[in-house]
């Protein structure tokens, strides 16, 4: 499987966070299916030219969130999806994402019902693509 990650050093987002986000997105979109093996820490660090500890940290955070799991001696795999974040934390993240969404869409002058309808359409397409 050819996974293509990229990182930008010098950005306000730390490198481990960038790796984390990309993997989370690939998993959410189904491009990294459940059970799929991730590149080893060493291999991904080499591919991205970053310190292996940075990749290890991204994997550790994703493991703590239940997105991936480590199998002793075999490496990291995409985990069966289960929610392990608290309700509070999920809400916090939803608000954060919603604010970013609003920041980028407010100047497009769509009404709230129009935005909601659009979200619904896209969400349906998104679920289809995951199957």
């Amino acid at each position: 499987m050819a996974l293509h990650f990229e990182v930008h050093a010098g950005s306000p987002s730390p490198i481990y966070e960038q790796i984390e986000k990309q993997i989370r997105r690939e998993v959410a979109a189904g491009r990294l299916p459940i059970g799929e093996q991730l590149p080893s820490v060493r291999a991904l660090a080499e591919q991205l030219t970053v310190n292996p500890n940075t990749v290890a940290r991204a994997y550790a955070e994703l493991t703590a969130e239940g997105v991936i799991e480590s199998q002793q001696g075999r490496g990291f795999f995409v985990a069966e999806r289960r929610q392990i974040l608290s309700k509070e934390e999920r809400l916090r993240r939803l608000d954060e994402a919603a604010r970013r969404f609003l920041d980028e869409t407010v100047f497009l002058d769509f009404s709230l019902p129009e935005l909601l309808q659009r979200l619904e359409t896209l969400s349906t397409e998104y679920s289809k693509s995951r199957k």
Binding site: A9, G10, P12, S13, P14, Y16, T49, N51
Partner: protein, 308 residues
């Protein structure tokens, strides 16, 4: 075997009446890639030269690989690789001759590594060192310093003057060397995006004074930026000990602050404003703000290691 390959105690150096390195207490953990940061003239090269016993401290001491830096034996030195600032080479020698010359000083010499680094920088054994480009010279110097497989590598501004491709090769070489957990690199650099790629730990030297020494992630977490928006004049800022920068524009106040404790943050959040937002900073912006004019010498982040 000590956990630290470099340990300094009150290391101080004067040049005349000018204090260049002031009471430095530095610890470099074994196996780390340690970024030594500071502006030009902050005292980085002087510190490095004291670590290697090339100049005497005025006061204090340094231990390197467990030995006092003033008493390093040739055997100790063979375990340390040092790349001085500027990528100096003997111009009249060929690349091969440089290798032969250098290898005679070391009990261990890994010709495979020497050749691998040369080819990484696209160097030919027959080239005259004096005709090389800056990037190629850097490659040659790096090959010469890596081939003896030193336990501790000290690189003084290795990226100086290099193009982006040569810099990437440099970083790859640094990561390659530290694949073995017992190898340590201390390097100074002004290129914060390179530092971000490779360093586990950093320290910040400012006018001879150590202002921070901690994990890179900790430093990033401890220097934060907030934007407050309000109507009219806006509230006065409470007294905050770690304030690095603040600037007001119309209806808006941006602040950058180091080591904000929970009480300080609570006081900020309690201000009568209509929005309060944390704005992430790049490593470079954090650094610039940290060693900017307003800073004082009291923000050691080592104490805050492990703060969530």
């Amino acid at each position: 075997m000590s956990e630290y390959v470099i340990e300094t105690h009150g290391l101080t150096r004067y040049f005349g009446r000018h204090c260049v390195v002031n009471e430095l207490n530095l610890r470099v953990p074994r196996g780390s890639i340690f970024g030594f940061l500071g502006r030009n003239g902050a005292g980085k090269s002087t510190t490095i030269r004291m670590l290697l016993g090339m100049i005497e401290p005025t006061r204090g001491s340094a231990r390197i690989l467990g030995r006092d830096s003033r008493e390093l034996t040739p055997e100790d030195r063979a375990r340390i690789g040092y790349l001085p600032e500027g990528h100096h080479v003997y111009g009249w020698m060929t690349v091969a001759e440089c290798g032969k010359f250098q290898s005679d000083f070391y009990p261990k010499w890994n010709e495979e590594i020497f050749r691998a680094v040369l080819s990484h920088f696209r160097l030919d054994m027959k080239n005259k060192a004096g005709n090389l480009s800056r990037g190629q010279r850097a490659g040659l110097c790096l090959a010469l310093v890596l081939a003896p497989e030193p336990e501790l590598l000290i690189l003084d501004d290795p990226a100086l003057g290099l193009d982006p491709v040569a810099r990437r090769s440099l970083i790859q070489s640094m990561l390659y060397v530290t694949r073995r957990a017992d190898r340590t690199i201390l390097f100074s650099s002004h290129l914060l995006s390179d530092v971000e790629r490779v360093a586990d730990e950093i320290c910040v030297l400012d006018r001879g004074v150590l202002r921070a020494s901690c994990r890179l992630d900790t430093f990033r977490k401890q220097v934060r930026q907030f934007t407050l928006r309000y109507d009219g004049e806006g509230p006065p800022l409470p007294e905050l000990p770690g304030l690095l920068e603040s600037f007001r524009t119309e209806g808006e106040l941006s602040i950058i602050i180091a080591n904000l404790d929970p009480e300080g943050e609570a006081r900020l959040r309690a201000l009568p404003v209509h929005s309060f937002e944390e704005v992430p900073l790049s490593l470079e912006d954090s650094f610039v703000s940290y060693v900017g004019e307003r800073g004082e010498k009291s923000f050691f982040t080592k104490d805050l290691e492990g703060v969530k």
